[in-house]
């Protein structure tokens, strides 16, 4: 089983809650770090060094290996000016790529519209998990959201095939006219149509999947396995999105943050092993991000909401290395106690949309942004 099409594919892993940048990519050479993190600090001999100044948290060994192999880009100091420390708002800004207004369309929803302008493939973009992230929303765009990959289909318990066929046919006719009671009604009808059309394709994935990779039983591992299943089933999915929560480490960060990164790092490594074993990794890039980083000074057992954070781009086509500048921890350079962003997150979007996906990034973003050179040109 190998994927036939080699169109570029983007996998996004969203880490919800606000990941602590400073204990993910530890600035071990900077004395300010130890001043601000008396309890939570990771000492120099324990970090997994990336260079002479920064290193990954010791729970991230699998990612350190990927970095050493040149497959991981570390994107320093990502954010935007004027972050307000709200989970809600900051996640919304990442999703819509718009810090200035309350936009409704997501950056990947718009990208999906470019890939499939007539909505011909309802699984061009797939969310694995509950709900539908705003990042994937755009008017007229079809996105499949799969919470249980083994039970994705309407009226699956109707045993008589003839009856089920008739009923699904009725649904198709009832959902078809887009002149219901209003936009929400029309949206429901369209979603119903997508569900009918996408179900046949998605249902193939778990049946066709065979792998020697054993994923862990935690949620992020399961979701990345489902992402792998969909990618490997070769149904034309180009954007695959999933999420893992729990990064809001106000308290007891010393135990929770290493556990989370242990789970995430292992799951990411297993995912890539799975893809490589199927010779299906070369056309995939993964973006890992969180809505904000955390406060520079710890609060006694954890860290409060902050601003600048770190993102990772991973994959065989990524130019590994460190990109951008670690924001200064000097107290005169902080913004209300937070790291000031050194890289606009939309620069990352710009290179992913334009250089990786081969789409028009200016249609997704309001203007030019400086792009980190994470893809060879």
């Amino acid at each position: 089983m190998t994927t036939k099409s080699k169109e570029p594919v983007l996998v996004v892993l969203q880490l919800s809650g606000g990941n602590d940048y400073m204990n993910t990519v530890v600035p071990f050479a900077d004395p300010h770090y130890y001043d601000n993190r008396p309890l939570l600090k990771v000492s120099e001999e324990n970090v997994l060094k990336l260079d002479d100044e920064v290193g990954l948290h010791p729970s991230m060994k699998p990612l350190h290996e990927m970095y050493s192999n040149g497959d991981m880009a570390v994107l320093h100091g990502v954010g935007w000016e004027g972050s307000n420390r709200s989970h809600f708002r900051c996640m919304d800004i990442w999703h819509t790529a718009d810090p200035d207004t309350f936009a409704t369309e997501g950056w990947l929803g718009k990208a999906t519209r470019q890939i499939d302008p007539h909505g011909e493939n309802p699984v061009t973009t797939v969310n694995v998990g509950q709900g539908l992230p705003r990042a994937l929303v755009a008017d007229g765009v079809s996105v499949a959201s799969v919470s249980d990959i083994n039970a994705y289909g309407l009226l699956t318990s109707v045993e008589k095939a003839e009856l089920r066929g008739q009923m699904l046919d009725r649904f198709a006719k009832m959902y078809a006219p887009a002149n219901g009671r209003g936009p929400v009604s029309d949206y429901i009808a369209k979603t119903g149509m997508d569900a009918l059309n996408g179900a046949d394709q998605i249902s193939v994935a778990p049946k066709a999947y065979k792998s020697d990779v054993e994923y862990a039983s935690n949620a992020v591992a399961k979701r990345l396995r489902d992402v792998a299943m969909i990618h490997l089933s070769d149904i034309g999915s180009r954007i695959l999105y999933t999420e893992y929560g729990g990064f809001d480490t106000h308290a007891a960060q010393g135990t929770s943050h290493p556990r989370l990164w242990g789970e995430v790092s292992t799951a990411i490594a297993d995912f890539w092993d799975d893809l490589k074993a199927h010779d299906a990794a070369d056309n995939v890039t993964m973006l890992v991000f969180s809505e904000f980083g955390r406060r520079v000074r710890e609060n006694g057992g954890g860290t409060d909401h902050g601003a600048a954070g770190v993102a990772f781009a991973i994959g065989p086509q990524v130019q590994g290395g460190l990109f951008g500048e670690y924001p200064s921890m000097d107290s005169t350079k902080l913004v209300e106690g937070d790291l000031a962003p050194t890289m606009d997150f939309r620069g990352i979007y710009s290179t992913i949309i334009g250089d990786w996906m081969g789409l028009d990034d200016r249609e997704v973003l309001p203007r030019e942004f400086e792009k980190p050179a994470i893809f060879a040109n």
Partner: protein, 468 residues
């Protein structure tokens, strides 16, 4: 015979102020009238409490509520069988606003305690409710206030109290957040002993004076040695607080508002309604009961039929009520409690402290599939007592029905007054496929029964059924 319009209005009231009502219940309620029904809803103590002994008899371990599954099943059982539907609906409302998640709290008992507190006080005074919330051990742990110390303030609770539980973003400064946090230093709880499954001590609020910051705080323009209750007193008197909570109430009970982050820039859909509710709320010193009375008596409420997308709890409980399949002892109850999660609403475990995205955002392809399948599975099973009763009512007189009449009766049983023409035509076309609809003989009746079940399942898949 009650007027068709009266039945529709009563069905609307019971869907919004509760989780729907069966045809038989509606007949009784219409007979006693809208005002009397509303009076009963607003005075839950006048209605019998649920027989929880029945629940515990078949879930003996559930009494301890150690695991969240028990707390969730208990709540779902109450939503389905309560005689005090508005009380239970208000529990869900506060769970939406004060979203607390068991993934972090890791105690079914603490979650059950918080939910029970909403049940007891959710229709009372909002100011008092906020104080109880600030002292609720599950909430304290959820937002880390046990780590909010005099020497090391933790601002998680302080921030969310202002942003999500009372004022809304933009109504305070970062300094206010910090000062608010300081006022709640020393508000902690005791009893948490991780890893012990049995014999756990219930968590208890504890105020530790030695860990409380006694210096002055400057909060929303006022300065003083404020404690937590002082902060809440200042907060509830901000006009922004009434507007924020009343907009939540309107969005939950009347019609879907835009998502909360847009509220600072997008005006309410019905500003006059919000003004009216704010006035009643403020005049009554933040009592919820008069506000709910005003809301459910208003024209804007009565005219809001089908303007809301049902949340998953409403979908699941509504189907359970209609099918009558969650009333007596049944070992499968435990499985039911996770069903709303498959539709995007993991009860007792919201995705974050911001709660759920509602309205149209409940719908995506996976959630829609799970909504339709759950309702269809329950309504196709004609051995369910509620479905059997529907079959008998639809086929109560004569021996045959035209396809159009058959469809109309099925829609009526599910409380759907009207559907789009295209929808109706497709339903009729499906009904016609099975030939003439006859139920005069026993043999005919069995076939008729399954045709009703199949039609109800088909209706569950319409876009109209997703609204409530």
């Amino acid at each position: 015979m009650p007027d068709h319009r009266d039945i529709a209005l009563m069905a609307h009231l019971m869907r919004r102020a509760g989780f729907g009502a069966t045809h038989d219940e509606l007949d009784l309620l219409v007979a006693q009238g809208y005002e009397e029904t509303l009076a009963q809803l607003l005075a839950p103590e006048t209605q019998p409490d649920i027989d929880e002994a029945l629940f515990f008899r078949y879930h003996p371990m559930a009494e301890y509520m150690h695991v969240s599954e028990h707390a969730r099943t208990n709540w779902l059982f109450r939503m389905t069988n309560t005689k005090r539907p508005l009380q239970e609906k208000m529990v869900l409302f506060w769970h939406h606003v004060f979203a607390t998640g068991v993934d972090k709290v890791e105690s079914g008992h603490a979650m059950h305690t918080q939910i029970s507190m909403f049940r007891e006080h959710g229709m009372g005074n909002y100011r008092d409710l906020l104080v109880r919330l600030a002292q609720d051990p599950g909430m304290i742990y959820w937002l880390d206030n046990q780590d909010n110390h005099k020497r090391a303030p933790n601002e998680n609770w302080g921030r969310e109290l202002l942003e999500l539980f009372s004022l809304g973003v933009g109504q305070y400064t970062e300094k206010d957040v910090y000062e608010c946090a300081r006022a709640f230093t020393g508000w902690t709880f005791v009893g948490k002993s991780r890893g012990i499954q049995l014999g756990q001590i219930p968590w208890q609020f504890e105020y530790r004076a030695e860990d409380h910051d006694e210096t002055d705080k400057t909060f929303l323009g006022r300065t003083g040695n404020f404690g937590g209750e002082d902060i809440i007193d200042i907060v509830v008197r901000q006009p922004a607080c009434a507007r924020f909570i009343m907009r939540h109430l309107y969005s939950f009970f009347v019609e879907d508002e835009p998502e909360v982050p847009k509220w600072p820039t997008e005006p309410p859909k019905n500003p006059e309604a919000i003004d009216l509710l704010c006035q009643v709320f403020t005049d009554s010193d933040f009592e919820m009961e008069p506000v709910l009375r005003t809301l459910f008596s208003s024209d804007f409420f009565k005219e809001a039929e089908y303007k809301k997308v049902k949340n998953p709890a409403e979908v699941v409980v509504g189907a359970l009520k209609l099918s009558g399949s969650f009333t007596g002892p049944d070992p499968s109850w435990g499985n039911l409690s996770t069903r709303p999660a498959t539709m995007g609403q993991d009860i007792l475990n919201p995705p974050s402290v911001e709660g759920w995205h509602t309205g149209g955002e409940w719908i995506n392809s996976g959630a829609l599939i799970n909504r339709v399948n759950f309702v269809a599975d329950h309504l196709r099973d004609t051995s369910n007592p509620g479905v059997d009763a529907m079959v008998r009512r639809i086929g109560n007189i004569g021996g045959s029905l035209t396809a159009a009449m058959f469809v109309e009766r099925c829609l009526n049983e599910l409380g759907l007054g009207t559907v789009d023409d295209e929808t109706f035509q497709e339903l009729v076309a499906q009904a016609e496929l099975g030939g003439p609809i006859m139920y005069g003989t026993n043999g005919e009746f069995d076939k008729f029964s399954q045709r009703v079940g199949d039609m109800l399942a088909l209706i569950a898949g319409t876009k109209e059924y997703q609204f409530g």
